[in-house]
């Protein structure tokens, strides 16, 4: 019986530890960082093709993509700390709510005047979302030791360099 109690408490401790890990938040932050790197290129393409209107629309699309990733990750992180059932409901309703909010934003932007260009907005939204995800898959480890992002390679320091420091 003692062994059984020990096993149960061991499992609980394990579950508790893994709720402290937040791989999705790390990945979303990394996606946001990479979005910052590519943002000037998309804004430039929007500016060249559609002028200031295109640049503003591309920038808005980038903000929406990053916000979508961050909010999605925050929903998962919060729901996992409650329960697995909460996770299921939160992800599905979060998806619905985020799509609804995107739809409302689209209607508002379209109706707000001539400064919004739909084509650069649409191109930036799709290409950034898919491109960032494809890029991120190269940097995700998804192993037991590193469940989220892959660890950065450690630079080898030679004794001479160490002495120089």
């Amino acid at each position: 019986m003692a062994g059984g109690r020990l096993s149960m408490s061991g499992t609980s401790a394990l579950v508790a530890d893994h709720t402290q890990v937040t791989p999705e938040r790390d990945i979303a932050r990394d996606l946001a960082r990479r979005a910052l790197w590519v943002a000037p290129a998309f804004v430039l393409v929007g500016a060249v093709g559609w002028g200031v209107t295109g640049a503003a629309s591309a920038a808005i699309a980038l903000v929406l993509v990053v916000a979508n990733f961050l909010i999605g990750a925050a929903i998962i992180t919060r729901a996992v700390s409650i329960s697995l059932n909460a996770l299921y409901g939160a992800v599905l309703f979060g998806y619905l709510v985020r799509l609804g909010v995107l739809g409302v934003i689209a209607v508002v932007l379209k109706g707000s005047g001539d400064w919004f260009a739909a084509v650069p907005f649409a191109i930036t939204l799709l290409v950034t979302h898919l491109g960032l995800l494809a890029w991120e898959t190269r940097h995700v480890s998804a192993s037991l030791a590193f469940p989220g992002l892959a660890p950065q390679p450690v630079q080898q320091v030679t004794p001479e360099e160490n002495h120089a420091k």
């Binding site: 499992t11 394990l14 579950v15 893994h18 709720t19 890990v21 791989p23 999705e24 990945i27 979303a28 979508n68 990733f69 999605g72 990750a73 998962i76 996992v80 697995l84 996770l87 299921y88 992800v91 599905l92 998806y95 619905l96 799509l99 995107l102 739809g103 689209a106 209607v107 379209k110 739909a118 084509v119 907005f121 649409a122 939204l125 799709l126 979302h129 898919l130 995800l133 991120e136 898959t137 995700v140 480890s141 998804a142 192993s143 037991l144 469940p147 989220g148």
Partner: protein, 85 residues
């Protein structure tokens, strides 16, 4: 005069139908990814319940799976915003 009114009404009707089509398309495009996300999350929860020690790995795969599936809905969103009058 009646001809002008009829043309105006026809134009407004086309705009209205475009808006209805855009909304319907967006809604229909969201169904497939919804089913896909349900499958992804359901299987991830199953994995986490069976092997709590690999929960972090399952969550990583789940997050990326959800994001990739959402891209389908974003295609519907893009069509919606392009069709919106």
């Amino acid at each position: 005069m009646l001809n002008v009114l009829a043309q105006t009404a026809a134009g407004e009707m086309v705009e209205g139908l475009k808006a209805i089509g855009a909304g319907l398309g967006y809604g229909l495009a969201a169904i497939g990814p919804g089913i896909g996300i349900g499958t992804v999350v359901g299987n991830a929860i199953s994995a986490m319940a069976r092997q709590p020690e690999s929960a972090g790995m399952a969550r990583t795969t789940m997050f990326l799976g959800i994001a990739f599936t959402e891209a389908l809905a974003l295609i519907g969103f893009v069509v919606f915003i392009l069709l919106l009058p």
